[in-house]
Symmetry: C2
Subunit: 369 residues, 2 copies
């Protein structure tokens, strides 16, 4: 079964929409934030913990799984869901972004990308066809087209080449993916250039994908520029298809994205920050290792209902982080994912009740970062 996207309600004052995304592995309430499970695990979380946190979909990385344990092994296991014991939905990225950001690039051409593994330096080649083969083998619910993301900042010529190649690759991905029950999303590129974004989005839409991602943002450009790009890109995308802003997970950016019509988000930050002691409180990011929390016997966030906040104090959490205890990462991740989950729930409720802008204002007046 491919995905089905249903819009339940459209905001009257913004471009936001409340929706449901139907997959083989459950229904996803949108707007949604997808936690990242890079190596077939959301770091420090068991699948039952994710389930308890109300998480309906996670993202996993083709690049990492291709290198380790190998996509054939995952296929042998019966696919990624079975391999990692996760019953919810999975979106896999194509590996494009990781090859460009993590691997040691050897050569990019229209044909594909030669790169060296960040783990052992071994040589690899991935092209659109291979990226589809990998994701079909992984068996994710949603696969992403193989794209080229130019670094930021790049000159217009370089960005244009990458954007055009992304369209050519999207076509090849569609062809290679034909016949699969998995849903394949296209990715809009075009860097920080509005005209390139519009042109790229229009060309991509011609190819008719069941969903569209906006890639290459939140890579160092000012937030205001990201919002401007969204302002001009989203209207080019069809209304009845899900829209996914890749790699964005800061609460403020999520709110701004939703207001501009985005339905899906992913980001490593809530989980990575959790492991580094940067915790999401209703008052903003809190650095729990700060000495002032040494003897603070209040919860991390007294407004939070998560397991961590209901059972432990800031002083204890700080002790765990200072002692490099695994439990620090576990409790921090539970909290940060609960925070994101609950933020998204509140956003959806606000959308349902036609008060998204009021919610945003109230939320951001407390969340100071």
């Amino acid at each position: 079964m491919s995905i089905k996207f249903e819009i339940l309600k459209e905001s009257k004052t913004t471009k936001a929409r409340l929706g449901k995304l139907y997959t083989c592995h459950g229904i996803i309430d949108t707007p949604v934030f997808m936690p990242v499970g890079t190596q077939a695990t959301v770091k420090a979380m068991t699948p039952r913990e994710l389930d308890d946190l109300g998480i309906q979909i996670i993202l996993s990385n083709s690049y990492h799984l291709y290198l380790r344990p190998g996509y054939n092994l995952v296929a042998q296991a019966g696919g990624l869901h079975k391999f990692m014991g996760w019953k919810g939905a999975i979106l896999t990225d194509s590996g494009g972004f990781q090859i460009f950001s993590l691997g040691k690039l050897n050569k990019i051409s229209d044909e594909g990308v030669f790169f060296n593994s960040h783990i052992d330096g071994s040589k690899h080649f991935i092209n659109p066809e291979k990226a589809m083969e990998i994701q079909i083998a992984l068996g994710s619910d949603i696969a992403m087209a193989f794209d080229e993301c130019a670094p930021y900042p790049s000159g217009k010529y370089q960005v244009e080449i990458a954007a055009q190649r992304t369209i050519q690759w999207a076509k090849r991905c569609k062809e290679a993916h034909h016949g699969s029950s998995q849903s394949l999303f296209g990715i809009v590129q075009g860097g920080a250039f509005k005209d390139l974004r519009i042109e790229n989005a229009n060309k991509l839409v011609e190819l008719d994908f069941p969903g569209y991602a906006i890639g290459g943002l939140s890579v160092g450009e000012p937030k205001s520029l990201m919002y401007e790009i969204l302002d001009c890109t989203v209207p080019c995308l069809p209304n009845n298809k899900p829209r996914y802003l890749m790699g964005v997970g800061a609460p403020q950016s999520i709110l701004e994205g939703i207001i501009r019509g985005v339905d899906m988000f992913d980001c490593v930050l809530p989980t990575r920050n959790a492991r580094n002691g940067s915790l999401l409180a209703s008052s903003g990011n809190l650095s729990i290792t700060n000495a002032k929390y040494k003897d603070d016997f209040t919860p991390l966030d007294n407004k939070c209902q998560c397991y961590t906040c209901q059972n432990f104090t800031r002083a204890y959490l700080r002790h765990l982080y200072m002692s490099n205890e695994i439990l620090a990462s576990i409790l921090g991740t539970i909290h940060n994912l609960y925070f994101m989950s609950s933020l998204m729930k509140n956003i959806r409720l606000a959308l349902l009740e036609d008060r998204l802008l009021e919610f945003k204002e109230e939320f951001l007046s407390n969340f100071l970062n």
Copy 2:
């Protein structure tokens, strides 16, 4: 409330006993294995996970908590139970063993021990009175006397000095501890010398503690020697008090200890080994990172009912360990603690049904290590 120990049944064919240890924080079924929560956390486990695993008592380390976060901070938090959010019982060791094994010793005298922290090299002094002050502040259910554990092997003279000092210190501990509702256990020393063990046990029993530990074993001596020491030491201890064999957690040694009349055990190995990929299977220790498990899609132990074995394959677990994922430690620890918990449950059932020796034979015929 101090502890109360009740013997429900004595084995007809061995010295084993089935019992219940009543504490302020719940009833403990004995014989019991206590997981170690060195720094106020059983590594990689949330308290609710420990609870789900049926764990009734954990051990925590005074030495570590004294250094970090400091026992006054734990006292301010309302004691160790509240600090770490653990509702079950806690036994704290005195710090003696860790000072001798981890700290950089400066000077031991009858008065006490000068040592340098293994964390930052800072200078500290602990004596019996201080060890009691620390454990009273931590508020554990059971505290341990401050002892001197001579390294193995040591000459008889050195062991005798340490054993005599341990008795002198036990007296001072008892005096310093007087009036506390916490229960204080004495520790028998005497190394690998049977006559010293017997003398030491007899002197300790004269001081009348609510429970007795046998320390300084499983420190490098042959197993057969440890069993011989138990054979001559346990009979010196009163029948109606719990007996605790410190630092022992290998399934075979636990069985041999129980048969010789021991009620309580602790060891870091089931949790530490779990983090290193050495997992307890009914067929013996299994090194999950072994290449032969790469594409083994069966459970770690198909006889095991734990969350890990019910939901994940050896291939997935191996992948997690090879990728240094935190989930490896979580799932490995869940499994190893479940294994220990279930071993102890089966031992208690066998004791109840008067078939301990049969159980031991059957268990060890499968568990090959």
